[in-house]
């Protein structure tokens, strides 16, 4: 089996982490809305929606920065 050791050039982020970041952000936001609506009411209040948006964006950005 061929060995695939990456060289030590400056790292470049993979496109997968960009797509993954978007997918995770959307998924987390939807899940946040569902959980919030289950705990309170549908639709959740504006502060809950905004905080969900912030959390989802933060997670998506972290996925990209962490190149995960």
């Amino acid at each position: 089996m061929a060995i695939t050791i990456r060289d030590s050039e400056p790292r470049k982020r993979n496109i997968a982490s960009l797509v993954g970041g978007v997918v995770i952000a959307v998924g987390c936001f939807v899940l946040w809305l569902l959980v919030a609506s289950q705990l309170t009411q549908w639709p959740p209040s504006l502060p809950l929606i905004v905080s969900g948006l912030v959390a989802a964006l933060a997670i998506g950005i972290w996925i990209r920065l962490a190149d995960l």
């Binding site: 089996m1 050791i5 997968a16 982490s17 797509v19 995770i24 962490a66 995960l68």
Partner: protein, 252 residues
């Protein structure tokens, strides 16, 4: 004993991990998302009948076969369009962890132990589609059970796989199922058999069913084998150096 080749790969891989990466955040995300999905689905189950509850073991078996299929036919096969998965698993995970040195050292190594969190999102979307279909055809409770069980199985998968790559087994070696999958998976990391043996990561049911286990015994024996090496098949390809995955597990 770690080979110089494996040590070099580990050093190169770790150098490529982004500074912003945190293994603990990675794991927390997986279990927060999976836990939230499971909790949300469970909230919708009311007065379930026995037939509806029977969906749980059925989904457990189907998830076990899906796990086997994904591992055997996608993660270990260079399929055009899915090469990223093959590269990440066969070419990276299997060089980072061998049967002779199968343990991670720090939480930054979680980068190559756990799936990226978006894999969980994809799995939940698939399970939700299946659950929705079942709800339309038969029962809403059954549909929610599908989502609950799928989320639970995913978290089960990640936990068991982590257990396989933890160094300290003073407790794990005594836990049923976990000790079984730990031996099973570490043996899978031998390059001589990794392409076609021991593809399960939770319970070796599908490996027993499809004849891809390195053991020669029945279903119950497979599930509760633990570290027992008496039933290892004698017709396996020769292992490259140490033919004793258990030796590595015991820290010998």
């Amino acid at each position: 004993m770690m080979s110089p080749r494996q040590a070099a790969f580990r050093a190169a891989y770790r150098a490529q991990i982004a500074p912003a990466y945190s293994g603990l955040i990675h794991v927390a995300l997986i279990y927060l998302i999976g836990g939230a999905a499971l909790w949300y689905a469970a909230q919708h189950i009311h007065a379930a009948t026995l037939a509806e509850i029977a969906v749980v073991p059925i989904v457990v078996v189907l998830a076990n076969m899906f796990e086997w299929f994904l591992h055997a036919k996608v993660m270990h096969r260079p399929i055009p369009g899915l090469m990223g998965i093959y590269n990440r698993h066969t070419l990276a995970h299997h060089q980072f962890f061998t049967h002779e040195a199968p343990y991670h050292d720090t939480t930054r190594d979680y980068r190559i132990v756990f799936f990226p969190p978006y894999a969980l999102i994809a799995f939940l979307v698939m399970a939700s589609a299946g659950g929705f279909l079942l709800a339309q055809l038969w029962s809403a409770n059954a549909g929610w059970f599908v989502v609950c069980t799928a989320a639970g199985m995913y978290m089960n998968y990640e936990f068991f796989h982590w257990c396989c790559h933890v160094h300290d087994d003073r407790i794990l070696r005594h836990l049923p199922f976990i000790n079984t999958i730990r031996r099973h998976h570490i043996a899978h990391h031998n390059t001589a058999i990794m392409m076609n043996r021991n593809m399960n990561l939770t319970y070796p049911f599908a490996d027993w069913l499809f004849g891809t286990s390195d053991l020669n015994r029945g279903l119950l024996g497979h599930l509760f084998n633990g570290y027992d090496k008496r039933f290892i098949r004698r017709d396996l390809p020769k292992m490259r150096s140490a033919a004793r995955p258990q030796a590595a597990m015991a820290g010998e």
